[in-house]
């Protein structure tokens, strides 16, 4: 059994702010049915760019539900500027930590939030920037570089924990290793 904190269990069994929001004026989606988890985030943003209401719908494991629930609690009442600074670590910290292999659930939260904010601001989210590395989970090199830098990641296993990249067929593991080496080499200069 996964080693979940009491807070994760509590947010899984009694998730806050669940459901579809009919009058949402910003929506962000992350994940897919194929990857095993997905989050759809609904925001109501007022004229001062403050999030007055937020709900979510999630398909996924306990930590995916708990991360979504935690995210909604964190951002409710925030301005979009403040919300855009919320990271996956904030979500994980709010829950007292997530198992290493479940960090991607918090990343999914951060990603859906970014998309919802972009959606509100009318920013077109183009196809993901960068080159596709992991075909199973549609992860690009730029995403890998960002997460490696932000979290000081040293191994491919940890990249998989955060982004799922490399966790499917495994064909891209060598490419991830190359990215890791080049990013970490840069850091030393």
């Amino acid at each position: 059994m996964w080693d979940y904190t009491d807070k994760v269990k509590e947010h899984f069994l009694k998730p806050r702010n669940v459901g579809e929001m009919e009058d949402a004026n910003a929506i962000g989606e992350s994940g897919s049915l194929n990857c095993g988890d997905a989050l759809k985030l609904f925001l109501k943003v007022n004229e001062n760019e403050r999030i007055t209401d937020v709900t979510f719908m999630t398909f996924g494991c306990a930590s995916a539900v708990a991360s979504s629930s935690a995210l909604t609690e964190i951002i409710k009442g925030m301005t979009l500027d403040d919300a855009s600074k919320v990271t996956n670590d904030d979500i994980s910290d709010y829950l007292g930590g997530l198992p290493k292999a479940k960090m991607h659930c918090s990343v999914m939260g951060q990603s859906a939030l970014k998309k919802a904010i972009a959606n509100y601001r009318g920013v077109q989210i183009m196809a993901k920037p960068g080159k596709l590395v992991c075909e199973c989970f549609e992860v690009t090199d730029l995403e890998i570089i960002a997460v490696v830098k932000e979290n000081g990641i040293k191994t491919t296993e940890i990249v998989t924990d955060y982004l799922k990249a490399g966790g499917g067929c495994g064909q891209c593991l060598d490419r991830i290793e190359e990215i890791l080496e080049s990013v970490n080499a840069e850091g030393k200069v």
């Binding site: 069994l13 999630t58 996924g60 494991c61 306990a62 479940k102």
Partner: protein, 390 residues
Amino acid sequence: MRVIYTDNNATTKVADEVLEEMLPYFGELYGNPSSMHTFGDKVDKKIKQARQRVADLINADPDEIVFTSCGTESDNSAVFSAINAFPEKKHIITSKVEHPAINKLYQHLQETKGYEVTFVPVNKKGLLDLDLLYDSMTDNTAIVSLMWANNETGVLFPIEEIAKKANEKGILFHTDAVQAAGKVSIDVKKTGVTMLSLSGHKIHAPKGVGVLYIKKGFKFSPYLIGGHQEKGRRGGTENTVSIIGLGKACELARENLPVMNTKVRELRDYLQTRLLEAIPGSSVNGDLDQRLPNTLSIGFDAVEGESILLMLDRDGICASSGSACTSGSLEPSHVLMAMKVPFKSAHGSIRFSLSHYNTKDEMDIIIKALVPVIQTLRDMSPFWKDGKVI
């Protein structure tokens, strides 16, 4: 809280009769069966009885039974012995849906020892592609190893037919019968397998004991090299207590085989029918006929398995899932993927595996608990609306 245990393909309760049989050998009867004195000999006699009981379950001769530490050791010993027996043959065959004890071992042999491996595919019902299997058997094939019954879906492979074909072609055949034992009738003489693996804890014996049946005449080479135990086929002092327990468990398994195919099958079918009726967007994984009587793998669209299990856990219901999230990997189980079960239901697949200890009352409790669990998760799922997947 009352525990409802429907995870018997993972492990089973040690039967009361088995425990009772074992207890004296934990205590005053601690002798070493190899010793010259009467004290050790008492244990030796009991081990002989256990060997006979195991042999009787599968219609083997007692000399053909080697005790091991688990099913994985039995599987590994069988495969390594086969490739030692035919060092010039560099091709090995198995299926895409094996237990890791074979699957990972074959991958290891492929990656580190240069073996050419055929992983025979299965169809949507989990049934083996027999034409491909037979076509892949060549003079260069050292061993064919196939499971008798699949742990996740319960799907049965036609072991007798395959063994016959392998024997005709002079290829050594091993079967992992860990899930089949005690659930379907096994007769090694009739089947003609060269080696067969069993595990104690799947048939109400304790964990930490397994069996490798080795047909008389096969030049077996030991995996654990050491003392003369098991006639030199497996070194190491016998796990006397567990072996004695396994003997009793095999005797009980033989007696209970009819129960498995009546009462347990009826309970499984009842659970299956009621769940399919009560929960829209649910489907059974695996062939309905060629299947163990105790196993139900059922997928629920648009929800995820770990969430289902954790919610059932609140009601003391123990089951397992083929979902990625419970295993530490990210893709759904290799078995469901090999069967091309769609992602929408593969991620939400749950395995219920029953034993003769289960009751109809328990099935009703599971049905009553599961319906609202699936509903709650679907109410939360972005992929479920108005009674169907979107």
